[in-house]
């Protein structure tokens, strides 16, 4: 489909590498340990980490080839995440 997933969290590159190896993920994982980008995207969830550190709230953005946001999912319940079908449906409309 030509959609490149990019996962972003406050986890260190090492931690993400472990996760990728364990789970078999091959897509890009980016590390934002100081939550600079997470803050710029207004996705900071202060103190919500396991040790009370600041983490990102779950959020998904589908960008087209110009970098424009075409679809956003800001869940109201962190157990409820975007489903692949939802994203593929929007991806069909991208040119």
């Amino acid at each position: 489909m030509g959609i490149q997933p990019v996962a972003i969290s406050v986890d260190s590159p090492e931690l993400s590498r472990d996760l990728c190896q364990k789970a078999g993920y091959t897509f890009t994982f980016l590390s934002d340990p100081k939550a600079d980008v997470i803050r710029r995207y207004d996705l900071l969830h202060p103190g919500a980490g396991i040790d009370g550190q600041d983490v990102a709230r779950p959020a998904e953005f589908l960008l087209d080839s110009s970098g424009t946001v075409r679809w956003v999912n800001l869940t109201e319940n962190y157990w409820v995440r975007a489903r692949p079908e939802q994203i593929l449906e929007v991806a069909k409309t991208l040119r």
Binding site: G49, P58, A59, V72, W79, A91
Partner: protein, 153 residues
Amino acid sequence: MKARRFNLPIWVGFLVTLIAFFSYFFVFVWFPVTRDFPWANLLLFGIAAALLLVGVRRAFAPDRPKRSKIAAAILATLSVAIFGFFVFATFINARRLPDSHGAPQVGQKAPDFTLSDTNGRPVSLSQLISARTEQEGRTDPKGVLLIFYRGYW
């Protein structure tokens, strides 16, 4: 009457309560149908409640020893507490999320950034977007899906 000595419903009820609680985080969370709304777990909690009710009534029958009543009271209280914590974790705590009104909206440009990948190499968003364009030459839809997540810890 040996069968009357052991209060099976109360113990099974407590066990089902534990299963109802932990199965969400270890089993049902992996399936969108049972994760988005924990109906499977609520069903299990319902079964547990029925068993516990039977167990408590049995324990408080006049011919039962005192320790049976104490055990039933403790198990029933623990079960209610576990159910309460489950409701808190899935319905209340999970909804305490920031509003994120300032997040990029549909139609807006996503702000560019540069972050390290798992090999410690800097990667920018513009790089990721243009990488797709270069690979093109076909009419497939293309794009980047940014997934912000809480972290693996």
